[in-house]
Symmetry: C2
Subunit: 273 residues, 2 copies
Amino acid sequence: MADSDNAKTTRPFAQAAVLPDGAAPQQPGSGDRVPCRQCPLVGRRGLAPPDEGQRAWIESFKSSEVRFARGEQVLRQGGRATRLYTLLEGVLIRYRLLEDGRRQIVNFLFPGDLVGLQAAFDAELTHSVEAMTEARLCAFPRDRFFDLAVSHPKLSFDLTWMAAREEAALEDHLVSLGQRNAQERLAYLAVFLVQRGVATGVVREGVLRLTVTQSQIADMLGLSLVHTNRSLQSLRRKGLVDWTLSTIAVPDIEAARSFAQMDGDPYIPRPYI
Amino acid sequence: MADSDNAKTTRPFAQAAVLPDGAAPQQPGSGDRVPCRQCPLVGRRGLAPPDEGQRAWIESFKSSEVRFARGEQVLRQGGRATRLYTLLEGVLIRYRLLEDGRRQIVNFLFPGDLVGLQAAFDAELTHSVEAMTEARLCAFPRDRFFDLAVSHPKLSFDLTWMAAREEAALEDHLVSLGQRNAQERLAYLAVFLVQRGVATGVVREGVLRLTVTQSQIADMLGLSLVHTNRSLQSLRRKGLVDWTLSTIAVPDIEAARSFAQMDGDPYIPRPYI
DNA sequence: CGCGCGCCATGTCAAATGACACGGACCGTT
DNA sequence: AACGGTCCGTGTCATTTGACATGGCGCGCG
């Protein structure tokens, strides 16, 4: 039921992979385990540093490291995953397919984000997760998930925190789809992505390098492909957002935020798991 | 910034309160504390029963019980709450206001739901919460929140579970706003509400008694009031959904689910907090 | 009773968005 | 060089949805 291909929007395919930070791509597979001590997440802006005991415990918890190329599926809607992931590097999308092929992209995931929390509770997955760039994830076995709460309360607290943050992000998206028109939604999404990029150290000179097709934008914002295209051009003419296949630029974040009526703090530090 | 009143849709006002289960309303205030032993939530369909140690601990955690009348605000957008709530009885809505008065209702809350998790993390609230019916909440002090993870890992686990469930609900709503047309959205919302009502024992003979104005429906689904009205009538003529001011009836849930392209398990038991 | 008010219904027209069709740029493969 | 694939741009028209105006109905209230 989750694989119809007659959607009104075309399905994404693997394409030239883009690494968010310019790192060299390596062969896929689950080899070369990196010790948590050298975890690339530590030290990034926007991530609170973990304490030492915490790190040691996480290391013992970690089971393996996995890589995906752009376009590959990390999690499949309708399935049950046995592992919980932390995104180390790259960008993912989470989306849901309806039976007739309509697709709703629910959120973008950046380094530090949790992947598959639903699966950790033994629920059937309501969405798929796919790599937008070459990506590296850190995997934890699900069955040891409950141990976490017992042996490391701080981590468990952080986990709840992350779930609450993810929920807050969905709330933002929901407001966008419900109340904003096409151009406002586009401005909102561009700002959202750039800010997430900044927080995870993936933005250079105000420009986020990330290849997103207009079809994906449309499926995130609930717009048709054509209307997305036209609205994007209009925003470009206004100088608010310049969004190409491989880059997203918002010259004046404040102007764009005000255009889209976004309020609230843009930067909230995330805990480290 | 959160109080503009010039919205294109009218603001809800207090009106004849409706109790979901026919209980007699009592005077507002925070008096007459009910021991958790007699918690009205226990034994309801859809709630997993707590074990004894857990209950005792929750009882020590509980600080007070609060009541609200229809139309009263439980939490205010932009503020910081110092308490975390569990909804004992009644129905609430959670909504966000934009500066120009547009309103997006983010979710409906039913007995057993957590209220104010964001606030528990000391974040500024991004939404308001308002009572749709006479409501009773059970309040916990925020500063003791962290103790929970330490002393009762199972509860902490449940908390994460609840946050994940709430996130899944928002994902459903997001799919609705992004991919479904007006009538599908209405059918979806009606089914969603009836099913939540069933799960919390608030539905009688396939009909949910809950007063929701068309303006509130419109603000939940991102539709104009007028269009909501017309689409509602069309659904009624089709025999799919009969939604009046004070009742929601879905004669054939399966038909409505299929009309709205809903899939996945409708009933998932919730833990007890 | 008459009034104000919240809510729902409906008519008419306008605006936003979607559907379909086509062309063109780019790029890897043969 | 020709081909097929993906993606972006644009023209034309259809559909969905929104805006505005108006009336009706029930209900609490002085």
